[in-house]
């Protein structure tokens, strides 16, 4: 099917102010959030978290809790069919800990009761005996050989390493006119969405499961629930209602409470919903967070301001789980190699465990921590060279059409230069000096920094590259000879461990690698439209943006479109809303579907006009305000 690439001279709705499709529900208080779900017979769940940052579990005695009147289920790790459900890249995480706890708040047991009050009392009656171990709270200390291992398999507490090698950084530094160094530590950041995570789960006869979750990735949740409970995917329904934003921290595989809620529902029996809502205290203390990093940059520059070499020795404190940190480091790897055109780069990131809340995502997905340090150093270098901050960057960034060694290809539609120039103009960078407005209460300052981020999950890169950082087993062997993904064949050849190329049978390699979005558009007899989307709008305006695209192509008003989204029972597929991918990828799906629908309408219209003795072709026709016109007429 051909995409219509004709540039429309004027848009009816794109670029115009269009009220959000969900605005009325939100201003009237009618919009539904998961923590507002109150079903008949619903039970309330609570999770018992570890009070220690690092301890071995000696025993768990739930008997007194089970006897408390009003308690309907108490579970521990043995009650979860696949306790390692959340482990995606690295197998370091159980839903309910059975042997060891590695951070304060690590879930150990859970209770479902007829009220929150009783559930809380029941937690107090669960007796867990711990052997407290020395806790590791500093990543540099964690890497010392004498420090206790948080996980037995990971020497020096290093979960993974990532690196970039372009040219020869050491030689490049030696050949530079000036060498600058800087060490930058970014801090831990909590996503703090205005509503805390909430889940309601209920099992149905025949083994089905329905879950309402504050998840921005219902499609991926479905795969994980299937993995957790061994349920075929057609028997699971995941519904994301309105959510208080995402901020990165809500995707599948980061909130144990979601799967624990379902495990409680399974224990209490068919037809009894269980709800768990995190407290704000829990959200701050033990939910996944944007983890902190240390970057030590060494940058070599020539007299004329051209950067000749960059070295970065980074330590990524991933807390108690490395999964998201590994993925973030992968993004940083791409960013460091695809922003500034530096001929010699040596970038190393060591991802290190500590006894703190595990790594999660926050908007920027790793790039914030990287640019925080790098861009400050860039300004210092520009100052030392007496160069304008903007000019120094323009001199060194990649340009459209440049070949990027790290990506093995040329850049297309890359406009970082125009972004920087327009930003500088918009903020009046040249007119204002850096410390712009100093009063006794405040200092207002102005500055500029480059940013770059790979939008999209990993379309085109393949899951091997993002999971290991390299493209071949030999390259991985060079980095980490003991990596669990490798096997040595009898003839000495290094190969991928059988099955490693398949991320997870339930997720499906093709879906995971391609990360597609799909949609279905239905037009009713009265010309109004229903748009079915797989992903969620959590306040970013996704459903409205898609309605605008559909409206533009179909010649209907956005208010003539109703959107259903974020429910895996809808006949559309997509993993979820993340990685800044929706406008581009789901938008394309919506545009294609709308064009297809429009073409069908025009074909029908040709027949209708013929019956009215007007001979037209589809090219003579246009759609406008729920009608089909012969172009240039009022017919």
């Amino acid at each position: 099917m051909e995409i219509n690439r004709e540039h429309k001279p004027e848009f009816s709705y794109v670029g115009k102010r269009v009220p959000r499709v969900d605005a009325v529900d939100k201003v009237t208080g009618f919009a539904k959030y998961v923590d507002g779900i109150e079903l008949r017979g619903m039970l309330y769940g609570k999770i018992l978290g570890s009070p220690h940052p690092h301890a071995r579990i000696i025993s768990i005695d739930t008997s007194k809790a089970e006897e408390l009147p009003g308690v309907e289920a108490v579970i521990t790790g043995k009650d979860i069919p696949y306790n390692k459900t959340m482990a995606r890249v690295i197998n370091d995480r159980s839903l309910l800990a059975t042997e060891k706890v590695c951070y304060v708040g690590a879930p150990v047991a859970a209770v479902a009761a007829i009220s929150e009050e009783i559930a809380e009392k029941a937690l107090e009656l669960i007796d867990v005996k711990y052997e407290v171990l020395p806790s590791v709270l500093d990543p540099e200390e964690a890497m010392r050989p004498e420090t206790i291992r948080i996980y037995d398999e990971f020497e020096r507490n290093i979960a993974a390493v990532r690196r970039v090698r372009i040219g020869d950084a050491e030689a490049g530094l030696k050949a530079s006119d000036y060498v600058f160094e800087g060490t930058f530590k970014s801090n831990l950041v909590d996503q703090a969405p205005p509503d805390t995570d909430s889940t309601v789960a209920v099992f149905e006869p025949g083994g089905g499961l329905t879950v309402w979750a504050t998840s921005n990735t219902p499609g991926l949740e479905l795969a994980l629930f299937s993995r957790c409970f061994g349920i075929p995917k057609d028997r699971i329904r995941v519904i994301s209602l309105t959510m208080g934003g995402g901020y990165g921290g809500r995707s599948a595989g980061t909130h144990p409470a979601r799967y624990i809620t379902a495990a409680l529902a399974r224990k209490v029996g068919i037809g009894k919903p269980v709800k768990i809502t995190d407290t704000r205290e829990e959200e701050f203390i033990c939910s996944n967070v944007q983890r902190d990093m240390i970057h030590h940059f060494t940058i070599g520059v020539m007299k004329d301001g051209k950067i000749n070499a960059l070295k970065d020795e980074a330590i990524y404190d991933c807390g108690a789980y490395a999964d998201l940190a590994v993925l973030e480091a992968e993004y940083q790897r791409l960013t460091i190699g695809a922003t500034y055109n530096i001929p010699n780069i040596s970038w190393d990131s060591q991802i290190v465990y500590t006894n703190e809340p595990g790594s999660g995502a926050l908007r920027g997905f790793g790039d914030q921590q990287l640019f925080f340090g790098l861009e400050q150093l860039m300004n210092e270098i520009a100052d030392k060279l007496n160069m304008d901050h903007l000019e120094f960057r323009l001199k060194n960034i990649f340009r459209d059409g440049d070949y990027v060694p790290l990506l093995h290809r040329e850049l297309h539609a890359f406009a970082l230069d125009r972004c920087l120039e327009r930003t500088a103009e918009a903020i009046g960078l040249k007119e204002k000096s850096i410390r712009w407005n100093v009063s006794d209460k405040r200092i207002r300052a102005i500055g500029i920094a480059s940013g770059n981020h790979q939008a999209g999950w990993r379309a085109g890169f393949g899951s091997i590259l993002w999971r290991t950082g390299v493209r071949s087993p030999e390259a991985l062997y060079e980095l980490q000879p003991n990596h669990p993904a490798l096997v040595r064949l009898p003839d000495g050849k290094i190969e991928w461990r059988p099955g490693f190329e398949i991320v997870d049978k339930r997720i499906g390699k093709d879906v995971y690698d391609a990360d597609p979005s799909s949609c279905i558009i239905k037009m009713n007899e009265d010309g109004t439209v229903i748009l079915y989307l797989a992903e969620t709008d959590y306040g970013q305006g996704y459903t409205t943006a898609m309605a605008i695209i559909a409206a533009e192509e179909l010649g209907v008003k956005p208010e003539d479109i109703t959107v259903f989204s974020g429910d895996t029972s809808l006949p559309v597929a997509g993993l979820g809303s993340y990685a800044s991918r929706l406008t581009m990828i789901a938008g394309r799906a919506v545009q294609r579907a709308a064009i297809d629908l429009r073409n069908q309408l025009l074909a029908m219209a040709v027949k209708v006009f013929r019956e009215l003795d007007r001979v037209v072709t589809p090219e003579n026709l246009e759609v406008k305000e729920r009608k089909i016109y012969i172009k240039g007429t009022d017919k």
Binding site: D22, T28, F30, Y33, E38, P193, P194, G244, G245, G539
Partner: protein, 157 residues
């Protein structure tokens, strides 16, 4: 366990008889007992976020810090009271026009706070508009959309 007492709360101009325990907050009664879900919880019910805001005798109040039993005889307005037939209140319409709606979590509280301000002061300054919403946390919008919406409703134009 404390006994439940039958009280009549005047909510959105209608009398609502409801059984309450003396230690229940107005938030709990509105949400759990009466199913008025427009009140939200963003902190642990400790008066930190403002999302549970309702109007009591026209004044914005954190419903998590007020006991339901103390509200007998008072006029309680929740977000549900503004558009009972679906016709939007001018404050709600202004919020939509100025896109002061993102995730929506703080919006009921913001709408009520704005309404309370304009009822008492139809011609606020921008500082007064900011002050009126200063007790409600928003994680999404950067706040300026709410003050823009409020200022668009000034009687003076």
């Amino acid at each position: 366990m404390a006994e439940q007492k039958l009280v009549t709360l005047k909510i959105n101009s209608a009398p609502r008889p409801v059984y309450v325990k003396p230690n229940w907050t107005l938030y709990h009664v509105l949400k759990i007992e009466l199913g008025l879900l427009g009140v939200k919880q963003g902190c642990d019910g400790i008066g930190e976020c403002g999302h549970c805001t309702v109007l009591i005798d026209g004044k914005p109040v954190y419903s998590c810090l007020v006991l339901a039993i103390e509200c007998e005889g008072k006029d309680i307005t929740t977000i549900e009271g503004l558009a009972p037939t679906g016709k939007l209140d001018p404050v709600q319409a202004a919020f939509i026009e100025y896109d002061a709606v993102q995730c929506g979590r703080c919006v009921p509280a913001m709408v009520l706070a704005a309404k309370a301000l304009l009822a008492k002061n139809p011609n606020p300054t921008e500082e007064e508009a900011k002050e009126a919403i200063s007790g409600i946390l928003c994680r999404c919008t950067g706040y300026y959309k709410f003050t823009d919406a409020i200022m668009s409703l000034k009687k003076g134009g």
